[in-house]
Amino acid sequence: MAKVAEVHKFRGTPGQIRRQRIERIGAVVISFILAAWILVNIIESPSQFAQVAVLGLRNGMLYALIALGYTLVYGIIELINFAHGDLFMLSAVFSSYFITVWFAQDESNPAGWFTFISCLFAVMAFGATVNVLIERLAYRRLRHAPRLAPLITAVGMSFLLNFIGLKWNGSTPRQWPTVIPNNDIYIADVRINATTILLFFVGVPLLLALNFIVTKTKSGKAMRATAQDKDAAALMGINVNRTIAFTFAIGGAMAGAAGLLYQQSIGTTNYNLGFQLGLIAFTSAVLGGIGNLWGAVAGGLLIGFIQGLNDGLPIAFGQQWSQTVVFTILIIILVFKPAGLLGKVTTEKV
């Protein structure tokens, strides 16, 4: 009689198993609370729920576009590019000047549309250029330095861009006209602004294009290879410096597009915009799993959604606690599931 060998699958050390259990229970409890909260609010006032959900998803789309820049850069050189949010702010100011001051368009007509589309290209080029310059001037020289050095430089860069924004935009928030239609559309008494719809019409193709670049093209392959192992990639004939610069360029272009869309759909610019939105976007990137493109998008939409619900619903903390809610999500995610919702667990290389 053949003895059935019992195979014990190794699941981890006792500590790891305990930790996994805590993670699982925490996840269940948190999602249960979240679901209960959403349910209560849906029952309370369904139309208001739909209304704030639309607004939240609009912000979520912007967060997703910004988060992509963070996730791309982190994926390739493991640096939290604190300056990325401020790059977004500069792009928003750039598009305001491009449309309203340089091309003097302030209403929605064919000329306005034309300016909008040319501005999209211009601002993407602007974002890409600035981001590549930052990488070339500062980060590249610090690639072999200890971890703390590039991180502190990124914070300094963020202050520098903040200063440029302060001088360019002025110290107070500025209101700008929109050149795309901004009338309201009603779908069963839920008010949706036309700019929101346009935002998705511009944002989704951008995401698809980015996905195509990263997964299908040769430079995308080079990016993924560099992210995995810089030295091996260099030995395989990949120009690592150019690949990293390219990554910064597409991240910057996404931030540029987000800047234009923000400026056109919300209509105000402020010099300290980048800090708050950048942090929220980074939270989204971490929530989705940093280094994962679709994770960043999902995280952005989710954070936008939750923030929208928190700001607008009757049973919620309200807008003055908005930051606290977002950062609490960040901390919970980092503590319980540092790999994010869609990310893979990686062990630190030694």
Binding site: L79, I80, P146, T153, G156, D231, I331, L334, V350
Partner: protein
């Protein structure tokens, strides 16, 4: 027999006390006795008030205390903390809670400096310093315990999150689940004067307060230097230089990191209480993210890990931020007939300090010899190891 290390410790510790006392005594004498002296030429008086008013010196000293605390976390243990302002806020509110009429429905006095019939909690300033320090240390441990396991850049982000959350809690604190914990944007005004036995030091006794702040700074310097030499300090340095190697050598990572958080936060609490007595109140909007970065720039400029460098960096940058830039601006505008808004250049200045120091002089103005070696060590990559030429 060769000199034992223990001798070195006591020797170097005696030396700085003398220099520090002379510098402190001189500053105190200038601001307490020389400035009010009637025989002083009016030109000197004006120049001092223009370039170095007493309030600016005291504020710089508060920044020095905070920077010394941050230095323990960033400079010694190598953990990037981007939310240090949270400890400043907590320390400040400790002063607000325990040294004012904020809790008007209570009447608690403990060696306070106000008459016994005044409402509110009035605890002696020197005890509030300790309380503030310990409350902050507690929060440091609370923040650190779940997060210190994270990688360094995630840790930076989490501290940043806390640095945003805690000031927001105080900012919205007028109605914190039904309780008023901070008076919201109105702030807690009129903090008790500092009792020093013979008299009570109100908000305008700059000279004597300068002496007290110098004393507190000296205390923090002493603690920093002693800890640096001791077992804990060497464990911090080991973690800063190579976490993995340190843990292999038996340094308990979590406990050591938590200790650095707690000690750093304690210094932050002391600084926060001192600041509350300096501005004679606690205002929620003063605690913002920029302060955390200012403090980081001070530590980086002066030299991470070197106490004297940090003091120098904190003094220079807080002077520039608080008084120097605007004084220079008005001076320049008067001479040149221009109208340049100099204080708005703070962001540029602090950003450039961080970037340029990191690019060209990572070890700071007054480098710590050990850190200099570590920070400029080139990492040997796999490709270089197999023969690729270094750039």
């Amino acid at each position: 027999m060769a000199k034992t290390p223990a001798n070195n410790v006591t020797k170097s510790n005696r030396k700085w006390v003398i220099g520090y006392s002379i510098a402190g005594g001189l500053l105190f004498a200038i601001y307490q006795f020389l400035l009010p002296w009637e025989g002083l030429p009016i030109g000197i008086y004006d120049a001092v008030y223009r370039w170095m008013p007493p309030a600016a010196v005291n504020e710089s000293l508060v920044y020095v205390m905070m920077a010394l605390g941050l230095n323990i976390v960033v400079g010694y243990a190598g953990l990037l903390d981007l939310g240090y302002v949270a400890f400043w806020a907590i320390g400040g509110y400790c002063a607000g809670w325990f040294m004012s009429e904020f809790f008007y429905f209570l009447n608690v006095h403990f060696f306070g400096s106000v008459p016994a019939e005044a409402p509110g909690i009035h605890i002696n300033f020197w005890m509030v310093l300790v309380i503030g320090g310990f409350v902050c240390a507690l929060f440091g441990v609370l923040i650190g315990a779940p997060t210190l396991r994270l990688k360094s850049d995630y840790l930076a982000l989490v501290t940043l999150g806390f640095g945003e959350i805690i000031p927001q809690v105080f900012f919205n604190g007028e109605n914190f689940f039904g309780f008023n914990i901070s008076n919201g944007t109105k702030g807690i005004v009129v903090v008790d004067p500092i009792p020093v036995g013979v008299k009570n030091l109100g908000p305008f006794d700059y000279g004597w307060k300068l002496l007290i702040f110098m004393l507190l700074t000296a205390l923090l310097v002493f603690v920093s230097l002693r800890l640096r030499r001791g077992r804990l300090g060497r464990a911090w340095l080991a973690i800063r230089e190579d976490e993995l190697a340190a843990s292999m050598m038996g340094v308990p990572l979590m406990r050591t990191k938590l200790a650095s958080y707690a000690v750093g936060a304690f210094a932050g609490g002391v600084g926060g209480v001192a600041f509350a007595t300096h501005v004679n109140g606690v205002y929620a909007e003063r605690f913002n993210f920029a302060i955390s970065i200012f403090l980081l720039a001070m530590v980086v400029l002066g030299g991470m890990g070197n106490v004297w460098g940090v003091i120098l960096g904190a003094f220079i940058l807080s002077w520039v931020n608080g008084n120097g830039l605007s004084a220079f601006g008005s001076f320049y505008n008067e001479r040149m007939g221009t109208d340049v808004d100099f204080p708005s250049f703070t962001f540029l200045l602090f950003g450039l300090v961080l970037i340029l120091m990191m690019l060209f002089r990572r070890e700071g103005l007054l480098p710590e010899s050990r850190l200099k070696l570590v920070l400029n060590e080139e990492e040997i990559e796999d490709a270089e190891a197999v023969g690729k030429k270094a750039k």
